[in-house]
Structures are given as C-alpha cells and as structure tokens.
Amino acid sequence: MKNVLLGIMLFGFVLSLYAGGTQEADEGKKVELRFVSSQIGVHPEAPWLEKTIENFNKMHEGTINVLFDGVAGYDAAWMKISSDAATGDTPNIFMLAAQPKELEIMSEADAVVDLFPLFEKEPEYKSRLNDDASVKAYTVDGKLMGLPYAKAYIGIFYNKEHFADAGISVFPKTWTEFGNACNKLKSAGHTPLALMTQPSAWTAQLIMSAYIGTTDKGRSWLNTPSGEKNFVDQVFIDGVTKIQEYYFNYTTPDAIGSEYGVAANNFLQGKASMIANGPWMIGDFSNPDIAPEGFADKVAYEVFPGNVVISFENISYAVGKATPEEEAASWEFIKYLMDPSVYGEFLTISGNAPTFKTDMSLIIMDRIKEEFTPKAVNAAANFPHFLSVTTQEVNDSLEQTMPALASGDLSPLDFAQECQKYME
C-alpha cells in the first residue's frame, strides 16, 4: 500500500514538472515574438498598439505572432526589460527611451540588434530615416539601437479663463513677466502652477529645464554629456533656485509628495492655471472621464518664456538579440510600424512629432496642436529637458531630493551637490 502511495505521489510530482510547458515553434512555421512596452491600460497609445499588433498578426497569420507583454509605467517596463536581458531573455521587440544609461547598458550587453545594416539592405526604408538628431540620439558606438519613433516639442499649457480673470492678455514672454503673471493669478484667486515631486518631478523639471535653457550658457550645460555634467555650475543652481521659488509661492499644497496624476488633475479641474507637459496631454482635455465638459476650449499651448521650447526624443522600438528567425520576424514588425497609416494614427493619438519621413496628410492635428506647432518649430531655441541629459542615478534621486528641495529642507546648492554625488 505504501509503495502504491509513493508511486502515486512521485508520478504526480513528475507530472507537475511538465505543467506550463510551452511548445517550441517548429522550424519554418510560426515564429512567436515577445513585445514589451508600457503602452498598456490607460496609456493613451494603448488602443493604437493593440490594434497595430492585431493587424500585424492577421497579416502574418501562420508565420509570425506577436505576443504583447505590457507593463504599466515606463520605469517598471524598463525594470522588466533589463532583468530579462540580464538573464539572457531579452524581449524580441521593446520600447527603449533615449536615456544614455539604458542605451549604454543595452549596447555593452550586446542585447540589441544594430538596425543600420538592416536599413542598408532596404533602401526604401533607409531613405525615410531623415531626422539626424533622432538617429544620433539612439546611436551608440556606431550602432542604431532602436527605430526612433517619436519626438515631442514641449511647452506649457495654460487656462485662458484664469488668465482673463487675472487680466493677462498675452502669455509672458520673459521669465520676469512670468513671475508677474503668477502673482496676478494668485491675486485673482488662482494657483498658478501644477507642480509635483514624485517620482521624477516631471512637470517641475520641465519648467526648470526651460529656465536653464533660455540662455546659451544654459543650453550648453544641458547639452554636456550626462556623465560629465558639473551640477555645482551656477547656471544649474539658478534653475534650481527658480523652481524652489515656484514650489514655495506658486503651486498647490499637495505638490510635495504628489505624482503626475495629482498635478494633471489639478490643472484639469481648474485648481491650477498652468502645467508644463508634452502634446500627449491634449487628448485628456476632452476626455469626459477626467476633464469637465468644454475644458479643451479653455486651454492654449505656448512656448516657454524666452521663446524657447523643449524637444525630446520620446521613444524608439528596439529589436532584441535572438534566433535569426526571430530577429528577421522582429524586423518585419519594425517595418510595419513605419507604415504611413500606422504611423499617422500613432502621431495623431500621441501628438508627437515624426522622426522619419511619412505621409503628413494622415496626421490629424487638433486646434491646440495646430496653434502650437508653428511656434515650437520657429522658437528661438530648442533643447532637451533635464531628465534626458542626466544619468539614471540622478534622475532617480529626484524622488528623494525634490520633496526636500520643495519643502526647503534642502537649499539649491545642497540639491546641486546631491545631484553631483549621485552622478559620481
């Protein structure tokens, strides 16, 4: 009896080892690709991506199947991508930001397929890669790490009604006028700025970057390679001093400790008059789930004081190293992403600017973007924002240091010194 029991238990154990096993694709038949991205759930581009993958799979039924492995939030997605790459299981296709550390990590680990040779073999696609800045942003040691897919011009959204209440007829052209406008808005009973501190102080660091980038010296500082920056430079300290002043005087009480959702909600609900953010926010203004009816009509989008605008490489799509069949199939998907109708839909939904030649008639721009785009394109200067020109350690340190700066526990000089320590 005991032997029978033992036999049953051992059989059950051995059977359980086969549970969850997957069938390997037969050679010459369907290739399964794993695609990791943060464009899932409430991400505005999630419906576009879902539809794109579905259509691609239909077109390649029986030969290629793309499986979407979505992770909410880019930081969490990057955690997954880097952990998978560390164990030799790099996703076949994944989104990759133009962050120096991420590109360096992927390049040193040789985890990514260089797209240049693939483009060389297909002149039709190569001829569409015309944005040198975007291509350069994703090139490491002569290798193109990902297909540059989106770039954005970033300005500042403002509530026209609040400005009218405060008697401001023209958006401030200088930072002094900006400060005066904030005082007028406060006097009229409005909170001027929607700022935040967690996890990377996105809206606040955009304003700080814009302030720094108003001068040649500031732009030169922003463009210094991330690992060589001197944070104790006065031009950076001045920017930090300015943003601390804005935290102290011109923002909501819940800015400290709040994340993007709180800052965005403050602007959308009319609790703050201005928010610095990218064009992807435009869709939110007419979303009945999060904005009051008619809110989109109250919003305008302007370049920053000093007639400057932030430009940044938003995302690329990279191909992970794998079997030749998987890499070839991934390249097919990359080419599909370049299809003008697919790309046009993406640019319409995301509000981003194109990074390679495409049929511009397929991009539908709304009123806000139509008004903003010529101003952005003709701005006196454009430059990257702070988070895209510093190391990941410095970026991540903002989660710790920004609340302390905003509450006055850290002086601008101390903040700068902390950034320096994190970089080193």
């Binding site: 955690m79 880097s82 990590i105 710790q400």
Partner: protein
C-alpha cells in the same frame, strides 16, 4: 526492517517538497550570497569582488546614507512591533476573550483591514495625508496648528517615518485573532484553581495567561518582525523612501539598486536582510524559548 521501510517511505514522501524548496528557495539563496561577492557591471557578471560590495554599502557617500537610514527604519519598525503592535493586540484579545456583548462583531471589524490589499490602503492613506483635502490637514486646521496645515506629513523630514508607521500600527486584526485562539485553548481549570487560591484578575494574567501565551507571542514576534523587514509595497506606494531616504527600508533599497542595474549591491543588501532576519529569529527563539513548556 519495517523501520527502514518507514524511513524510506518518509524520505520519499518529502523528497518532492525538498526538491521544490531547493529549486525555488535554497538555490536562489546560494546564488544571492555568491553573487553578492562578485563584480556585476550592468548586465555582465565579472570576477570575484571579495567584500567590496559590502564595503561600498558602508562607505559610498550616497549609498551609505540610504543604507544607514534603512537599517535604522527597519530596527525602529521592529521596536514598534514588539512594544506597541503586539501588546495592543494582546490587550484587545484579552478584552474580546471576556466575551462581552458584541465581541464577535468586533473580532470581525478588527480583522477587516487585514483583508484589504496593501495597495488600496496605501492609496487611501495618500488621500488622508493630502495637504489640500486630506483628513489630517482638516484636523490640523480645526486644532489651529497652523505650522502643520498644508504639510504632507508623509514627506516631512521628521514625521514622515512615523506617518508610515501609523498606516499599519493599529491594524492588529491578525495578531489579535491568533492570540484569541490561543487564549481559548487555555484550560479554564487553571483560572478556577487560581480563583480558589484568591488570585486577582491581574495575577491570573501575569502568572497564568502570559506564560501560557509565551510561545505564540514569540512566534508572532518572529512573523511580524520578519514581515516588517520584507515590507515593500506600502512604503513604495506611500513615499518611495522619500524625502532623502528618511522613509527608506532595506527591501526598498534592494529594489532601488535593481532599477539602477546594480545587481551586486542589491544582492549585498539582500544578504544583509537575510542575516538580520535569521538573527531576529534566533533571538526570539532564545528569548521566548519557543517550543518549551513553561511549567515542565
């Protein structure tokens, strides 16, 4: 012969569990310890690094601060568990044990927070502490404490950590229910004998109840202290360790080092966590003499 057969059967019966335990716990722990002594540059494991990764945690100007604060916070969490959380649960269990009217309802009410997800609790407390519309801000306003209105306590350099403690310290449902079950198991004859001898209620608790609860209190200390060391979700969602790591813990530091792709350092912190956890288990075992009867 039968004994040998029995032994053979017993070993074979637990073999699958042993194999699974080795695969999913023992081997990963070995890997954790070994790689904490290796150089691990971004995604590439390098050579033997000796104690360099550990030395880094104590000497690096940035990481040593985060590490020191994490250890302090973890130790203070332990003290709160031992001196407030469990005693509070014990008092509540003793009150419920007296089975006054409605005691079953209160038993359920006390346990409800333990079945709500930590994510939900963290989100609720973020709103409670919100300086624009949260309950804390309202309380400070009606108490006329102007210096604290419009302040997010979670991100306060002094009160931040205690605000996080406040989100769990009163959730005594689990230890209360466990202590209550143990109290039910104490023979009533012991109390009857004590009453006959003229013992007061207090003496009954001191000389009968507490000694007989020794084992379960020690076990609860181990469970709750080690759970505290593993606590990640709550703190990550509430503050992420901010400001300046004042609300950081060792498990949060492990995560942070992984996001920096500094796997060697994260594994070093992980080994520290393991050692501290094992130390506390041994200390509580010794202190409470868990498994040994009081009266034998």
């Amino acid at each position: 012969m039968n004994k040998a057969k029995d032994l053979h059967f017993q070993i074979s019966a637990i073999l699958p569990v042993l194999i699974l335990f080795s695969l999913f716990y023992f081997i990963p722990i070995i890997v954790l310890v070994v790689t904490s002594f290796m150089e691990w540059d971004k995604l590439q494991i390098g050579g033997f690094a000796g104690f360099n990764n550990y030395i880094h945690l104590f000497t690096d100007p940035v990481d040593s601060r985060a590490f020191e604060l994490a250890i302090k916070n973890n130790l203070s969490w332990t003290l709160f568990v031992i001196f407030i959380h469990i005693p509070l649960a014990l008092v509540t269990a003793l009150i419920l044990h007296s089975k006054n009217k409605g005691w079953k309802i209160f038993r359920v009410l006390f346990f409800i927070p333990n079945i709500i997800s930590i994510t939900a609790i963290a989100i609720i407390f973020r709103q409670l502490f919100n300086p624009s519309y949260g309950v804390m801000n309202w309380l400070f306003e009606i108490m006329n404490i102007e210096s604290m209105t419009d302040v997010n306590l979670l991100f306060h350099k002094t009160y931040g950590w205690y605000s996080i403690i406040a989100t769990w310290i009163l959730y005594i449902g689990f230890p209360t229910v466990v202590l209550l079950a143990e109290l039910e198991a104490i023979p009533k004859e012991l109390y009857e004998s004590a009453q006959i001898e003229g013992a007061t209620k207090g003496q009954e608790h001191v000389f009968i109840t507490l000694p007989l609860l020794k084992n379960i209190i020690g076990t609860l200390c181990i469970l709750l202290v080690t759970a505290g060391f593993r606590e990640f979700e709550r703190i990550y969602l509430l503050t992420g360790g901010a400001p300046e790591y004042r609300t950081g813990t060792l498990s949060l530091l492990v995560y942070e080092k992984m996001t920096y792709v500094q796997f060697a350092y994260s594994n070093s912190v992980g080994v520290f966590l393991l050692i501290i956890g094992v130390l506390f288990i041994l200390i509580f075992n010794r202190l409470f003499k868990i498994g040994k009867s009081v009266y034998l």
